[in-house]
Each structure stands twice: as C-alpha cells, then as structure tokens.
Amino acid sequence: MITAGNRSALGTLAWWLIRAQFRSRRAATLLSMLAIGLGVALGYAIHLINDAALADFARAMKSVQGDPDAVIAARDSAGSVPLADINQLARDPAVLVVAPVIETRVRIDDSPIPVSLIGLDVFSAAAVMPQLMPRHDDRAVLDNIFAGGVYASPTLLERLGLRPGDALTLVRGEQRWRTTISGDLPATHPDEQLLVADIAWVQQRFGPAEAVSEGRVRLAPDADLSTWRTTLAQRLPAGLLIRAADDDSARLSNLSRAYRVNLNVLALVALLTGAFLVFATQLTAVAQRSTQFALLGVLGLSPRMRLLQVLLEGLAIGLPGSLLGLSLGYILAVAFTQLLGGDLGGGYFSDSAPLIVPALVPALAFLALGCLASLTGAFYPAYLNRTQALAQALTSGFSQRPAAIVASPSRLALPALLALAAFALAQLPPLFELPLAGYATIALVLAAGIASAPLLTQTMFGWLSERPLPAPQRIALQNVAQAPLMAQVAASGLIVSFALTASMVIMVSSFRVAVDHWLDHVLPAPLYLRSKATPLPQPLLDALATPDAPFARIERMATASLTLDPRRPKVALLVRELERDNPAARLPFTGPVLTPPVAMPLVWISEPMHEIYRVGAGETLRLPLLGREVDVFVGGVWRDYARQFGAVVISRDDYLSLGGDFQPTDLALWPLPGQQSVAVAWLAPPIERYGLELADSAAIRELSLSIFDKSFAVTYALEAAAMLIGLFGLAVTLAASVWLRARELATLAALGFDRRMLSTAVMLEGALIAGVGLLIGLGCGVAIGSVLTHVVNPQAFHWRMPLAIPWPMVVAGAAITLAAAVLASRYAARQATRLAVAQVLASAQ
C-alpha cells in the first residue's frame, strides 16, 4: 500500500529525524563517521598503492623484457641458455622469432652503482623488445651498432652527464670494456637506467661463451601457446624453463601477497572499529529516543520503518564517512608512495614512487564496504528498536535488558564453545596460501571474550556487592553486576581494542626478540664486505689471501638464485665456506641436523623454504643446479628472517664437486685481534676502487633493527587509534547509561546522595567496567598474540618465532588504559552531577 507520495512523505520524516539526530549528537556522529572513514581510507590506500606498485613493476619489467609470448631461461641464475638450444628453437615452425639476450650488471667508470647492460641482436629484438631499440647518434665516431659501441637510456645519460660520442669503461669483476656511447634508447621509460649493446660484443667482453641469458620468443600467429609450451617443456634440458606472461604476473602478485593481505586485515580491523562505534552510537541513540520512537510507533510508524530508520541513520553516518575515506585514502596513497615507495616499506619493489590512478569500480567497492560496515553496526540497535514494546516504552522508556536473561550453565557454554572452536581453527593449515583460518581464530577469540564478560561481571561483582561497603560503591557494583546492555557494550569495546593492541605488542615484541637473537647467530664476524651484483674482484681476493692482510679468518660466500616454480619468487642459493660436519656453527638450526646416508650433495634449507615447498630435514630435494637437476639431501632447516621466499645453503666444497664455479660476492672478515681499524684502513682502497660495501656487524644489526622498527611503526599508530576508540566508546556508553538512568540517579539524589557520591559511583562504575574489559582483553590479547606469532606469521610470511610476552609493557598499558578509563568516566559523572534533580523527577510519568 506504499504509494509514491507515501514514500516521499516517509522520506521527509526520515530526513527530519536524521537531521535532528545529527544536531543533538554531533560529537559521537562525527567520530563514528571518522572511524568508518579511516577504515575505508586505509583499505583503499593499500589497494591503490599496491595496484600502482604492481603496475609499475610490470611496466618496468615490460620495458626491459618487452612483451614476448614466452621466455626461455636458466633455472639457476648462475647458469645460461646454450646457443645450440636457441638455434634449435629458432627452427621450430611455431616460433616466429627468438631473440637471444644477455643481461648482466656492470659498473660505469668505477661508479659504485651498478646498471643493467643488455646485449641484444637488433633484428630479432625489433619484433619482441621494441622499447629497447637503439638510436644511433651522428656525434658518435663509430658508425653503426656492429662497431662495438653502447646505447644508454636518456635518464642514464643525464645522470652520468655523458653525451653520445663520449668514452666510458664498463666494469664487471675484473673484466673491463672501454667503449663509447653511440646513441640513446629513445623508447625506454623515463625511470629506466640501462645500457644496450650488440649481443656479440657483450658476449665477447663479459661472456658467457656459446650461451645467452635468455631467449625471448614471439610465436607464429597461428600457434597455440599452451600446447607449444607443453610439447617444448618435454624436450627442454633440465636446467632450462619456459616462462609465459601469466607466470610473471602470478609471481609478481605472490611477491607481496601476504604483506598486502596483512595490511588489508589491519584496514578491516579499522573498519570493524568503525562499525563498533556506529553500533555504540546507534544503540545509545535508540535507547535515548526510545520514548520518541514508541510515540512514532503509536502514531502509526510501522515496525519495518522503525527498523529502517535506525539503519538509515547508520547509512547517514557510513556514506559520508566512506566518501571521506575514499578521498583520504587517495591522499594517503599519494603521500605514502612519495615517502616510502610502492611497498610501504616492505622492501619488495623498487623504491621509485609509482603513479596512483584511482579507478571507478574499486572506489565503488570500498564505498559499499564502508556503508556495509556502518549498516552492520546499526543492525542490532535497529532490531532492538523494532522489537521494543510500544506501550511500555512510551511510559517507562527503553528496556535495558531484552528478554535474553539466560540460565548460568548456558552462559558458560557459549564462551567455552567459542574458545574451543577458536582452538580448533588455529590448528588448520593455510587456505589459498593465506592464514585465513588464523584470522577466523582471532575473530572467534574476540567473540569468546565478549561472550564471557556478563559471566565474569555477574559472579565477580555480584559477590563483591554482598560485602559491607559504603553506599556509592555498593550501587556502582550492583549496577555493573546486573550488567545492563550499556555496560556490556562499553566492556566489549575495551575488550576488543585492548586485545588487539596487546596482541600486536606481543607479536611485534616476540618478533623483535627473535630477530635480535637471530642476528647474533648470523653475524659471527666483526666485518662484512659485499659487492653489489657482480662477483668480488680477483685481485682483492688474492691480496686477502696473502699473509700481510690483517685478517685472522675469512669466509667467502657466493650467491645465486634458482627458479623452482616460475610462478613463485626465486629461491636464493648461498654457496658458503662452512664446515660440512658442523654447519650449526654458522646456521641457526631449528631442528635436527642430519648427515646424508650416502655420498650425496648436502644442503640446508631455510624455514620459509621448508614452509613453502613442504620439504624437511632428512628428505631429498631436486634442485635445478648448474644446468641440470641434482638430487640433494636436506641436512636441516635453519631460521631465516631475511629471505621470505626461501634460501638454500650449500657448502663450497659440494658446489665445486658438482662442477660449479665459485665466484664470491660476500665476505665475512675477522680482523687480527686488536686490529679492526687497521683492517678497515687496509680495505679502504679496494672498496673505493671496486665500489664495494663494508659494514661492521654492529652497524648491520642496528640497521636491521631500525628497518624492523620502521616497518612496524604504522601498527603503533593503529594501536593508539584502537585504544582511543575503545575509551571513547566507554565514555559515550557510560554517559548514555547515566542519561538513561536519570530518574534512578535523581531519586538517589532526592534520597540524600550528594553530588560527590553520585560522581564517585559513576566513576567507580566506569573503572569496574574498564577493569573487566581490560582483564578479558588481556586474556584475549595473549591468545591472539600467540595466534599471530604461531599461526598467522608462519602461514603468511613463513617466519616462525618463540612467543615473548613483554609483561611490563602490557601491564603498564593496561594500567594507563584504566587510568584513562576513569578519566573518561568523569565525563559521564559530570553529566550525572549536572542532572536537574527536580526537573527529572517532575517529568516522571
């Protein structure tokens, strides 16, 4: 029977009520709006940044790789693709062009920053990598690309201050190539700093002989990629792999996936806090206006409209909040990418600031999410409003205890059941490689905490209120013990906010303690010397081997990377000089260290590798080493917080006996006793000459920990926000409950309570509610902290660590919160003492 005129009339009424509501509760409404906005802003900013970073990464990749249909490459970064294989591929009828490429990193004129040098064949490259096509410059003396010049991207030319025709020296290890700049690369992206030269020249100067780094394939128009790929995969040598474009994007998104999801969960928490604030605001709003709503119901506002009205009011908070959040999110995204780069300090992508491009559909999705959160928060109050008995509400106001007074055994049953379910969920493995069950566990722990609050308040304070106490204390205790809805809401807000804060503190502290401990173990030497990307120069290694070098001990390490699965980030291969029989002297093992039963190459894998590829100590692993597949024995699993996607350590002796070429890139140095400064001085000239990096272990340690602290800084801000919101919830709900009990308090005043007694009673009530909230919150916080440490972290980041609870910090946090809660309840107490007693009593019906 709802006509158009009817609808617009009801719309007018709804609008009047919303406007009146905003006018009378400005602060609470604005804060709920802000909280929703913050959640939306965080989520949207993370989305925008990540989108931009991935697009940026993909673009960067495309600009050096072109967009071939497929790439043939070695699985071992130390390996290469034999020319014979490339030639055979070129004869395949399905292949239109195969462009051979050599990619290496060189230093220009001994500058310490290495740049990419790409050797290509212009004719085949034109079809696959048009961005890398060189443009010859007439100022260059050499007249064409076959004459051995290099071409630099405009950005690189600008940085070096060089012009076509200038001479330069490219250095890789001890190999040096004196050449000239023959022109530029007009089609490269303005961010790109790279050099291009003819592949034959690069091969002649830097190798590899008779091989290339990659073959980039353009298929014939009628060829089908997937069938071609499967047939080729069968006859491809073991050390090679085929990578298609979709593998690249999958690898790219795998790279930062867990980090991203974790940030998104934080955003979700912010959004849920927003929903909680809408809940608290709307619940008190419904309670305050119960008589008004009852009157409207008596006048003929239908139950459905009473429900809708509260939902609409929620939406009226959520919609502007979400719109605000979208704009804030955009600003945050731009600001953060300028400050921290596309990975928010996560260290996955290059540090150039990517371009933020908002799109309509995700913006609408986040808008909808914000509105949904506020509707969710408004739902229970709306439901309560719909079910209030009109005649009763009209004469005696909001009924604080809806019919749900349950017998005590079932009160215990619900939290116990929830806790049990949480425990069961925590045992589940990751889903879609994400700790989804872990997140669900956290939600259940919080639900169990909230559900146990009435039980705790009733037993504890019920018992206490039977003690002989002065009247104000007694009344406060009784009020909380009866646990009316308002106290419940205030306590829940504190439970959730304190639990989340405490759990983050516990997780971060456990992590920091573990990293600290780990750094002790992995940095045994006083000094570390590293070359960026190219092997250490042989003259330096020779000089270090002479007796007059001021070092007692030197351990060398070479690094490479292996592709075990083209869809996943590469695994680091660390070739180290360590004792095969005693690897524990250098590697922090987490379990047993085994020796192979037969003569077999022996490796030790890192914890992330163990988690991602599901191999353990004592098992055999097939690695794509040195152009073939090698079965190796896993001698143990060691802790590694540095390489999230896995690392394999092999001893230098095993690597050499497999036929590997040991080219060290990193050195651990033990200077002679008391000669550290002599050693540093001794190293200075080669560092200068070869562009190396020297760091002492204390500096590395300090840097690592400061990076750690920086990457968790944002969580501290969120914790502070969560606590403020919890306290705000307490103040608002307490004030509302004072308001609702105006008549009761006025009666007390009339019976002889003075203002101070009333204020004491209300503040004590706040302190008691906060006490219960903090106590349960602490319990939940420890539980969630261990879920984060033992379930979420290993499943998302493949990092395990022991739980280390910083008790002094957690307890101090609880004490400060309690003090703040008492202050917050002062606000409510002031309202109680300001009640115009006579007026309240006179208006009693």
Binding site: T12, L299, S302, A391
Partner: protein
C-alpha cells in the same frame, strides 16, 4: 466510530482477567468518558483498542470500514493507527527534536501527505488551538498547557475517525485543564469524530456525551 464486542484481556501473570465480555459502541461524533478506579484496566483497554496490546478474544472495529484491529498484523495495525486514530496522552509526548509545526505534521507524513501540503493545514490548526505563530518554536520552550494543545492539534490534523485520550488533563492545573478539554471537545465535535476519554475528573466526565465506568465486572 468504534465497535467493541465480547472483548477479553488477561495478563499472563494475573489470576483473573482485567475485563471479559466487554461490549461498547461509540457512534461517529460521540464523546464517551471512561472512568474507573486506578488499576482497573482503563489504559489497557485503550492500548487494546489502538492495537498496542493484544486482547485475548473479541473484536475491535474502527473507522468507516469497520476493520477488526485484533485480526491485523503489526504493520497493518500501525497503518490503521496512522490513518484512523488520534492520540492525546497525559504526558504530552511531543518529539523534542522537531519544531512545533513539524510535530503536528508527523501524522500527515505517516498518512503519506507530501511535506509541501502541510503548511496551510498546520497553520490553520495551530490557530484553532490558540497557538498561532508557535510553528517554528521548539517544544522545550513551551509550557505544559501549550504542549498539550500541540498534542491535540497533532491528534486531529489527519482527521482520524477516533480520538483516544488517556487522562489528557492529568498533568495540568484545573483552569488550564478545563480550557484544554473544552478545546478538545470543540474540535472533536467540529470534525465529527468519535472519542474515548479516560479521566479521573468528574468535571471532565460531565462535559462528555456519555459516561461509562469500568469495573472488574464490566462496563456500566
């Protein structure tokens, strides 16, 4: 008009019904006073008639279509109230967050009358209850007697078939009470509405067309 037949109400915890076999007819334009001891069930009867409480048996027919409110669901009752019933309460019950004019216009909105048609009607009615110029004021600034005039205007603006008044003058001094009641009766007669007025005041009751007393044994 209002037609009650065989009405019975018993509270779940009570030993005997508040009333049973209750029958009552109020013709259009007739004003009936309902008196009785405190706690006898007058307010409960009014609540049953308005569909705010459920009667245990019997029928309650209201308005020109004589719809039986006892057989309707909650939303249909709300709709019936919105169209056919006007309320005046002892405790005024004016929405504090709406202006006087908006308060009076609420029943119009609930009946689906668009806001642009309100102005003339609210102004006219405000004048007739002696509150010309009060439209933009907030309820907090009005006296009890003025508030009750607002409530009367609100009860009449949508021209309901039945006015239910529960001790409408209970909170007012005798002089104001008399004025207010006179006003209510005058407007009710003018609009040809049926009215049921619960009151403890003999003076008020004597102004009505008929006086009924509710006792545990029934109406007389």
């Amino acid at each position: 008009m209002l037609l009650l037949a065989n009405l019975e109400k018993r509270h779940a915890t009570a030993a005997r019904p508040l009333f049973s076999g209750l029958a009552l007819t109020v013709a259009a334009g007739e004003i009936v006073a309902l008196v009785g001891e405190s706690g006898v069930g007058k307010s409960t009867l009014l609540n049953c008639i308005a569909g705010l409480e459920n009667a245990d048996s019997g029928s309650i027919r209201i308005g020109p279509q004589a719809v039986d409110i006892a057989k309707l669901d909650e939303s249909a009752r709300a709709a019936l109230r919105a169209r056919n019933i006007g309320f005046v309460f002892q405790a005024f019950h004016v929405l504090p967050t709406l202006t006087v004019a908006q308060n009076i216009a609420v029943p119009l909105l609930l009946c689906g009358v668009p806001a642009k048609e309100h102005g003339r009607r609210t102004r006219a009615l405000l004048e007739r209850v002696g509150l010309s110029g009060f439209g933009p004021r907030w309820p907090a600034s009005l006296s009890g007697g003025e508030l009750q005039r607002v409530a009367i205007a609100r009860a009449l603006i949508h021209q309901p078939a039945l006015i239910l008044a529960d001790e409408p003058t209970g909170n007012l001094d005798p002089r104001t009470a008399h004025e207010i009641l006179a006003l209510l009766l005058e407007r009710v007669r003018e609009q040809d509405v049926s009215a049921l007025v619960v009151t403890h005041s003999q003076q008020v009751a004597s102004c009505c067309d008929r006086i009924l007393t509710l006792t545990p044994d029934g109406l007389s």
